[in-house]
């Protein structure tokens, strides 16, 4: 039904259905904790609607809420601290 697009997560190419958010793409890649908190505990999405900022990751070099960011072909998501 949906066409697939290719993005990269931490350097690895992955196909996701068009229209998926970055948060959904991370879940498809089995990344449960895209970020660490200020004291270093693992965190993943909480509110799913752009309120809590727990799902933030580096997307094309910008720190963005993955739940509010729709995947575009070639998008690069990083959760590993590399740039």
């Amino acid at each position: 039904m949906h066409e697939a697009i290719t993005i990269t997560i931490n350097g690895q190419a992955i196909e996701v259905p068009a229209g998926s958010t970055a948060a959904a793409a991370l879940a498809m890649a089995n990344i449960d904790a895209p970020r660490q908190s200020v004291t270093g505990t693992p965190r993943g999405p909480l509110c799913g609607m752009g309120i809590c900022f727990e799902c933030c990751a580096m997307i094309d070099g910008h720190r963005l809420r993955t739940c509010q960011t729709v995947c575009r072909p070639g998008m690069e998501i990083r959760t590993d601290g590399a740039t």
Partner: protein
């Protein structure tokens, strides 16, 4: 910087209330609709795809698509620059939006309650999980326990099951006699909802629905693996891949608060035409009191017609609104949160998830502002949107004035000054 955009009526929020308001006002006025989300529909109709068999949603989303309005998605309201001018941010850049009349339809978010383990990955909001799945997150084969309060839990559980999740248990904190009384009121207040509830219950006939029951601890190291639950004196632990928790909804009052609208009992005060105490600023939907999509649509239409001076059209919806509000009040009474939930967190539970402020660090403070200044509770990126309502529920802290920026913004946006239009 992008040129200022100007509208007769500017609507903030493209959920049911905002959609109805925009459709009503667009008959004679130029209308802009701003939303943070990538597509219209708000949370309940997230992604602009109507839930299966939801004819109301399908009709309104189609009407909105055909309406002559300017849709401004992926855009956050940051501050008010001056009367009639809002500063917004889109892709990190400032955009000025100018208006004659403003309709706020900012909707609601979930009430989260801190308990040990609630910061573990895969402990998510109930509505939050539904939103994530609508955005493409797979849950096939995942064991999901849904916990919290309100009829949303059943609709979320049924939705998850449709997406091939395994939902062994839904827990409702309200006592059975309140839920039963609410059920008995439904045929009179909202027969459609009763049928919907029966349909959910039938779809979930293999799922246990435990009343008088709530989560006490989430267990796991790098993600949730199990949850401990309490029902009366009984406690037990269940394995799960995902724990979805929602303890009701709370209105997003940051923007009306910033604009100076009078608030009462965690809702914006409006007159019968949905106008707030700030002339020319109308409010519709959840921010005038949690009431669901049908009430939001009605209030949205009233606000839209009122904003363009069509008072008769607006008044023709008053009776429907009164009926829908009675349902909202019954809902509110049935699913009020029990006192035991105030003490779910222990000393080491983070209350503020942005700044990792544990409960013991908040002991001794008697007000939100002092706690913020001394511990940074509520000072992180979410700006207290999660821990603010939690501390209000746990400690009874009242929330004071709202200050700009109401949303994290880039330096470019913060440095923006109003455009002088004679330039």
């Amino acid at each position: 910087m992008a040129q200022p955009e100007r509208f007769d009526v500017l609507v903030i929020g493209a959920g049911p209330a905002g959609i109805a308001a925009a459709c009503a006002a667009s008959e004679v006025a130029s209308v802009g609709v701003v939303d943070d989300n990538p597509a219209a529909g708000g949370q309940i109709w997230r992604g602009g795809t109507p839930p299966l068999r939801d004819r109301l949603a399908a009709r309104w989303l189609q009407r909105f698509q055909q309406a002559k309005v300017t849709r401004i998605h992926g855009t956050q309201v940051v501050a008010r620059l001056e009367p009639g001018v809002l500063l917004t941010e889109r892709d990190g850049q400032p955009v000025e939006l100018r208006y004659e009349k403003l309709i706020l339809a900012t909707g609601a978010r979930e009430q989260f309650l801190p308990f040990p383990g609630w910061t573990l990955p895969n402990v998510v909001g109930a509505g939050g999980l539904q939103a994530l799945v609508k955005s493409g997150m797979p849950v096939r084969g995942k064991r999901v326990i849904v916990a919290g309060s309100g009829p949303l839990l059943l609709s979320v559980a049924a939705f998850l099951q449709q997406h091939e999740a395994i939902v062994p248990l839904v827990t409702e904190q309200a006592p059975w006699h309140r839920v039963a009384r609410f059920g008995l009121q439904l045929p009179r207040l909202a027969p459609g909802k009763l049928l919907q509830g029966i349909a959910y219950r039938w779809a979930l006939r293999h799922t246990r629905y435990a009343l008088d029951c709530w989560p006490t601890t989430a267990h796991g190291t790098t993600k949730v693996e199990a949850v401990s639950l309490r029902a009366g004196q009984r406690t037990w632990t269940e394995a799960c891949d995902i724990l979805a928790c929602g303890f009701g909804l709370i209105p997003n009052l940051e923007l009306p608060g910033l604009l100076g609208c009078e608030l009462h009992n965690d809702a914006v005060v409006v007159d019968s035409f949905q106008e707030s105490t700030v002339p020319g600023v109308f409010c519709a939907g959840e921010l005038t009191g949690i009431g669901g999509a049908e009430l939001a649509l009605t209030e949205g239409e009233i606000a839209g017609f009122s904003a363009i001076g069509e008072k008769q059209q607006a008044a023709s919806r008053f009776a429907a609104r009164a009926r829908q509000r009675r349902f909202a009040q019954a809902l509110d009474r049935a699913f009020v949160l029990r006192d035991e939930l105030r003490n779910l967190s222990d000393d080491d539970t983070f209350i503020c998830r942005c700044e990792d402020v544990a409960r013991k660090r908040l002991a001794g403070f008697t007000a939100w502002r002092a706690a913020k200044l001394h511990t940074r509770c509520g000072m992180g990126p979410c700006q207290g949107r999660v821990c603010g309502p939690a501390t209000q529920f746990i400690f009874g802290w009242e929330h004071e004035s709202v200050r700009p920026p109401i949303f994290p913004a880039t330096v470019d946006t913060l440095a923006h000054r109003p455009t002088n239009e004679t330039d």
